[in-house]
């Protein structure tokens, strides 16, 4: 699934490791989500959105 997590994380000046510890997952999981190789659960999507001060739409909604 395409998403804007990487862009939002870089804008928030966070490292993958920091985002991972804030959301309770591993750095590898954050990397996989950013690359679109793993679809996170809704619970994790919300945790990521909260950690980055974004909405789910900002991060995960595809706009043509």
């Amino acid at each position: 699934m395409k998403n804007n997590v990487k862009i939002a994380r870089i804008k928030a000046s966070l490292k993958q490791e920091q985002l991972a510890s804030r959301t309770g997952v591993t750095r590898q999981t954050i990397g996989l989500i950013e690359k679109g190789n793993y679809n996170p659960s809704l619970q994790l999507c919300v945790a990521i959105a909260k950690a980055l001060n974004k909405t789910l739409d900002d991060l995960f909604w595809e706009v043509e």
Partner: protein
């Protein structure tokens, strides 16, 4: 969702999902191998102990093998420095296992079968070391791609 299975699963949701896949795949392979053994037993004799041992081995080896090659064990190893550090930890852990097991066995059982014991422990240590090495290498390569 509550399940006693969660006791055996990691906290990270990606790793948890992967482990559930490995357990499920292994269960299906186990089922197929049991069906195969029933058919085999119809034509040739196979002892119950052997059948049970083969089944347990199939289940455990498949899950361990999939876990090792999936590269999900060392999730934070992304640099060459971290890789080398982890390699040292693995080597120390395996050597520690070998020394402690040999020492405990010699203290408790004496030294009658020491050669057999050393060979057995050495084989287990070598297998453990190479499994950890493969897992580390796969994890490192996977993590590098995700940076």
């Amino acid at each position: 969702m509550k399940s006693w299975m969660s006791f055996f699963l990691p906290d990270d949701e990606y790793r948890e999902k992967m482990m559930l896949y490995f357990f499920s795949e292994s269960a299906v392979i186990l089922l197929l191998s049991l069906i195969g053994m029933i058919i085999y037993n119809h034509y040739f004799d196979i002892s119950v102990v052997n059948a049970l041992l083969i089944s347990i081995l199939i289940f455990l080896i498949y899950i361990t093998g999939r876990y090792v090659v999936s590269g999900i064990e060392y999730t934070d190893v992304t640099t060459d420095k971290a890789y080398r550090k982890e390699l040292k930890v693995i080597a120390i852990r395996v050597i520690g296992f070998f020394v402690i097991l040999i020492s405990v066995y010699l203290l408790l059982e004496g030294s009658d079968k020491w050669l057999k014991l050393i060979l057995l422990t050495l084989s287990a240590s070598i297998i453990w070391f190479f499994a950890s090495l493969i897992s580390l290498k796969r994890s490192y390569n996977k993590n590098k791609d995700l940076l």
